[in-house]
Assembly symmetry: C2
Homo-oligomer: 374 residues x 2
């Protein structure tokens, strides 16, 4: 069982009068996370194309890395010898490692799933890898992120009830083993992951079981894995309010404007998504709620900044015409500058929601984003 830790506290600063939304501060050994907040994804201990100095300029606080990917390359031993993932990648702020559960199930082929864990072949070199709750936690203890995630079984979004029920039950048994295996509860907070697919009663049951374990934070997993937006919303609106009010709540893998606004409405604090860098690499900018393809000819002679209200380096320094030129020329700098902007944009979106919650104007100011998906 994790020892109670003074290193991880969630302090609620304001509650919305018209929703479950809240603004707060989640303290970690590497500094505070002001919530609600979007967290950039640095899968392989690098947010693609972005230096830690540039990442700090986006106002990023907590940054993700991935246990599955880092176990395969370079291996946790090398990262531990470097002094942990923060030092290895040069990020001094808070970090979170995903357990690798989602990746084992979504990326690995030739896998054998059993009660013990998952046996799979490394897509890098073909060697057999035995990923169990104990191994995932051992790796995450070696990586040393501030928040580590339970190793869970993530069924597909369209899984039938029996499959989801079994995966959810197994996720709970695996969580107990994760807690048992966790060697650094004093400086690493282990979050539990509520599964249950789109079955609300399974979500309720899973939440209840997990809450009884008194973990330092909770995540909602198994959403945005192929199901319709309306179903995601239904699950989030149902599940988030079940989670303890005095602990941080994290919705995994979600990062569109509407999904984040709706989830904050339901009481979610933390988000992660690869959208800003993936879009950046494809020449797409997120601008005030829209998606712009910067390769488009309309930008060729447009000498205005991408978004004149945006404080990011890209918007403060370059024109749409220059970005269009870089993307058309397939220049690396184009992908970098769009990624920088996109990360800044999503963080800024959650920051402005946070400010609205502090002002208690959230549901009015963000009404546009709060209509439920169809």
């Amino acid at each position: 069982m994790p020892l109670p830790s003074v290193n991880f506290t969630y302090q609620c600063q304001a509650r919305c009068s018209h929703s479950q939304a809240r603004a707060g501060i989640f303290q970690t050994p590497h500094g505070p996370v002001e919530t609600p907040r979007f967290m950039p994804v640095g899968t392989l201990a690098t947010v693609k194309g972005i230096t830690p100095a540039q990442l700090a300029d986006t106002q990023a606080q907590m940054v993700l890395a991935n246990t599955y990917h880092l176990h395969l390359q370079p291996g946790e031993k090398i990262i531990a010898a470097a002094g942990g993932v923060h030092k290895f990648m040069g990020w001094s702020g808070p970090m979170l490692t995903d357990s690798g559960g989602f990746q084992v199930f979504s990326l690995s082929q030739l896998r054998t799933i059993g009660e013990q864990g998952v046996l799979f072949r490394s897509p890098r070199d073909g060697r057999l890898i035995d990923m169990t709750p104990e191994n995932s936690i051992r790796i995450q203890n070696a990586l040393g992120a501030d928040v580590i995630m339970a190793f869970d079984e993530c069924p597909p979004g369209q899984g039938d009830r029996l499959m989801v029920e079994q995966a959810t039950a197994r996720t709970y048994r695996w969580l107990e083993r994760c807690i048992e295996a966790h060697q650094r509860p004093g400086d690493q907070a282990l979050f539990g992951i509520v599964q249950g697919g789109t079955y609300l009663d399974l979500r309720s049951q899973a939440a209840e079981q997990l809450i009884a374990l008194d973990l330092p934070g909770y995540a909602i997993g198994g959403v945005s894995v192929g199901e319709a937006p309306a179903l995601i919303d239904k699950v989030v609106q149902h599940t988030a309010p079940l989670l303890p009010a005095h602990k941080p709540r994290y919705l995994m893998g979600v990062g569109t404007y509407r999904e984040m606004a709706r989830a904050i409405f339901a009481g979610i604090d933390l988000f992660d998504c690869v959208i800003p860098t993936r879009f950046g690499r494809h020449g797409t900018a997120l601008v005030q709620g829209e998606r712009w393809n910067l390769k488009n000819a309309t930008f060729r002679e447009d000498h205005r900044p991408l978004d004149e209200t945006c404080p990011c380096y890209t918007c403060q320094t370059f024109s749409r015409a220059y970005l269009n030129h870089l993307i058309r020329s397939r220049e690396m700098l184009g992908y970098i500058l769009l990624s920088l902007h996109n990360i800044t944009e999503l963080i800024r979106f959650t920051q402005s929601i946070r400010q609205a919650i502090l002002n208690d104007t959230f549901t009015q100011d963000f009404a546009h984003w709060l209509t439920p998906p169809e």
Copy 2:
């Protein structure tokens, strides 16, 4: 004829007692260039993968862009409308545009070379492009770099004497047309390019003719185009001392340690080369005169900085193990960080030579690099 300009002055600060080497300051409308100095290449108005803020951290002063590439994409009209290439790419320091001559001859297919100029098909969209001395200068006037280069005919390094003689004679006639076409002599310095292949008498003759035109600076072109290192050295040692002592001297396309040290020995001030970014993109670091392949397994668990004497962001922030991890993972950040280091390294090399010249210890301190190539 260019009007005499007070905007471009070369002031010699120190001469080496044992060679032609000199340290000086070349003034431009966008600030000084302390020479000798390496100039990073930003062909398409971007040094690949590097932001202008990062570029400034490398201590870059003058930065190159390319007339041929920028004419094809996005076109000089768009860059002129942006306020010139400095504003377009966000670089406030001095800039130099190559004339496109070298690229027209080396990259274009389906070209017809005549006295008027070169007719070729754009490799981008197949349209016919008529590149003449007048057009090259018109484009460079629109781009607005501080230094612009004459449009020259660059024969292959192994060209026979007659071919080289004809190309050199044509280069001179084209230079006269460049001077005639130049519309901004007050804020853009037109440099002449001494051709002549590996025939020293042709180099002498070309230098003499060009010097009579009293241009604000001179370049040695047509080296490092396929000929042996010893031949490059022979040409540079012969030609550089022929150029006026009170004007900047630029050796085009050269950027290895030995070639730069030897050329500085002969009196060269400025260099450019794509090596630092090209090597960076291939996982190669320039470290104290050596080339290291960062993918090499010897770096996997090496937690030291790349070069502990280097002040660059890469060396100050990351380990060889992290760079090895990024390169093995084919992460963009690996190429960026190595490019940043490599640019810093070559600039630092020329800066340290400059300091040695100021101390009059150049030939002793850099004896290792001053042995002639075999």
